[in-house]
Amino acid sequence: MIANERRKRLTDAMQESGLDAMLVYGNAWQGDYLRYATDFGILEGQGLAIVRGDGHVTLYVDSALEADRAALDCPGIETVLAPDLTSEVEAALNRMRNQSMGAAPQRLLPRRIAARAGELKITDETSFVDRLLMKKLDSEVAAIRKAAKLADEGYKVFMQAARVGRADYELIAESEAFFRAHGVDDNFQIIGIGGIEVKGMAPPSGKRIQAGDMVTTELTPCVDGYYAQICRTLVVGEPTAEQNGAHALWREAMEAGIATVRDGVTAADIAKAENDVFRRHGMGKYTTSEFTRVRGHGMGLFADSKPHILEDVTTRIDAGMVLIVHPNTYHPAVGYMVLGDAVAVTKTGCEVLTGTPRELFSVAG
């Protein structure tokens, strides 16, 4: 079972690092550290877990609804309903004060607990867990592979829902119904509808599709806690020559990035490969933070995890990492355009996990 494999890996790594216990924090936004240690996908409130060297895990949650959910989803761990989360966990930490303990992610720990880190011998071990989160077990990659297949299926549903007059949130509603019926508990998704006025993607605002609009989305279903992302753009009606030209550039950039992915390169190498294509076409300006955030990122128990694919990120890319390569940015003639595929890094290159054609799709106008 994937959760047991992860926990064994975590406790083995703790032993190697001389840690007696780990304190991990999570909420519905930043849930990956908590999920790694407990396998609990928290939705409401906040959770803290203490993982002991012998593999015993105590999960503290401050919502009674979440305590019920944790007991159902994670029968192998101890769940404690702690309405006063900070006090309850602080009391547990007081009882462990002679032990060497790490915490992750330290920056999100409740202030009151973090303020006593020195006294309680708690060290910041965020990067320690980050390494485990980034370089995945085979079973983790298999889960992401499943999620990627559902990303492909979900995009078909999204495309079928896109037609003139429909609102952005209605497209997402259709995708979500499909996902809930097909083993997808969660989904990260943002959307953009329109033309040159669209500078990025965001949650739905109620904007309705008009003929000729480009519809962009970043769709990220979650299976067994693991997210896989796909980015595609469609046009409502026939694409213009400028839209087709822009898409060809995006595709060249994405494929240059994917061709660079292999064990031993850096995140910067991948970003540079993508951005060089833009620069060659006189579009280098649109690879900057004024127009785009990242040129891809890691995926796993978090939809947008480390490493960020940027030219100033020197993180080594290792076999076992899973990334999305997406040269998403603004084009002055057509607006914000996206294209991205999920890949699993191998020793010699990468396995592309998403299978949706790399086309600028057209739906009936």
Binding site: A64, R69, L72, L85, R107, P110, A181, P203
Partner: protein, 342 residues
């Protein structure tokens, strides 16, 4: 992450209503001797900032600083490109994009020579932000402002009542999907209910199912094809424009009497009296029913809904959840209400 309809609408939440809320906070600050007030937000803890500005984060986190006067300062590590979107949900704040929101807040406090500053849920402030704020404003005396803020949230104003009513109408309609017989399994049913809620404009929809209530009363998020038994239950936690409600229903051939009973109980909840006693007294009116469990939730801080231990105030928004055993069979239900509204 939030992926439903998000956006501020002046008709639903007039700027005057937001300014009235800010004025109430500032009056409370003055009473407590506070020069400023800091509120944290992320998508698990959005409610206090949503109440003060209209803003709910779909991702990431942020801090809001309310000083004695002037526009609130909203600082986030989200990039400047996201500011345009933030503005569509928050008509009142000065929006600042900075890699270190805590440092910026501390610097503002230091510049304003703030002496005493309240923080909502101070103990729970994320350590990184807390460190940055405190380091940049070393002279400030910090004060937990949780109780002060909760007092402001005791009575909902008219715009909030309407937004809550809209969220509840979405939840009620969405749960009717379970009556249609279209879904035979829990995952499909969850999808249909969520689809209904999102098509109606829900900002968020958390659907939980107990597929065989006779076997297990606990509800859980699901996307699995678990068959639905003759007696099952569904909970829909629905947000509309930052306002959250919960509705739970038991679906069985004999649940109608208990459903109607819950409506009567919810409509009769009085302010100033313990809800436990009021619920227990009403159980006697339902033949062969035994009270298994009840909970009362409200929105008093950054959480959309959390357990309320005290007797409700007049005009306070609540969600009442009751679990009964009736003639040996389990039944559960939940619905929102305004205390003392009868």
């Amino acid at each position: 992450m939030r992926r439903g309809l998000m956006g501020w609408n002046a008709e639903e939440l007039p700027v005057a209503a937001i300014e009235a809320r800010l004025a109430r906070l500032r009056a409370a600050m003055q009473g407590a001797g506070l020069d400023a007030f800091i509120v944290y937000t992320n998508n698990t803890r959005p409610s206090a900032v949503a109440w003060l500005t209209g803003f709910t984060p779909y991702w990431s986190d942020a801090l809001l600083l309310v000083s004695k006067s002037g526009a609130p300062v909203f600082a986030t590590a989200l990039s400047k490109r996201v500011s345009e979107w933030i503005r569509t949900t928050d008509p009142v704040s000065e929006i600042v994009n900075t890699p270190q929101p805590g440092k910026l807040m501390g610097e503002r406090l230091a510049k304003d020579k703030a002496k005493r500053v309240g923080v909502l849920e101070y103990d729970m402030l994320p350590a990184g932000l807390a460190h940055d704020v405190e380091t940049a404003a070393p002279a400030v005396e910090w004060s937990d402002g949780t109780a002060m803020f909760a007092a402001l949230r005791r009575e909902v104003d008219e715009p909030e009542r309407k937004l809550l009513a809209k969220a509840d109408a979405i939840a009620v309609a969405a749960l009717r999907e379970a009556e249609s017989g279209k879904a035979k399994d829990a995952g499909t049913l969850a999808g249909l209910i969520e689809q209904s809620a999102r098509l109606a404009g829900a900002e968020e929809a958390y659907i939980a199912v107990a597929p065989d209530l006779a076997a297990d009363r606990r509800l859980n998020r699901t996307s699995q094809p678990t068959p639905l038994a003759e007696r099952f239950a569904v909970r829909a936690s629905i947000a509309y424009k930052g306002c959250w409600v919960r509705r739970s229903r038991t679906f069985a051939t004999d649940s109608a009497n208990a459903d109607a009973w819950l409506d009567r109980v919810a409509d009769s909840i009085e302010a100033g009296k313990a809800v436990a006693e009021q619920v227990a007294a009403n159980v006697k009116a339902l033949p062969n029913a035994k009270l298994a469990k009840y909970t009362v939730e409200s929105c008093t801080g950054s959480y959309p809904l959390s357990a309320l231990a005290s007797a409700p105030a007049s005009g306070q928004f609540l969600v009442l959840t009751v679990e009964l055993t009736i003639d040996g069979a389990p039944w559960l239900g939940a619905r929102p209400l305004i205390a003392g509204s009868r």
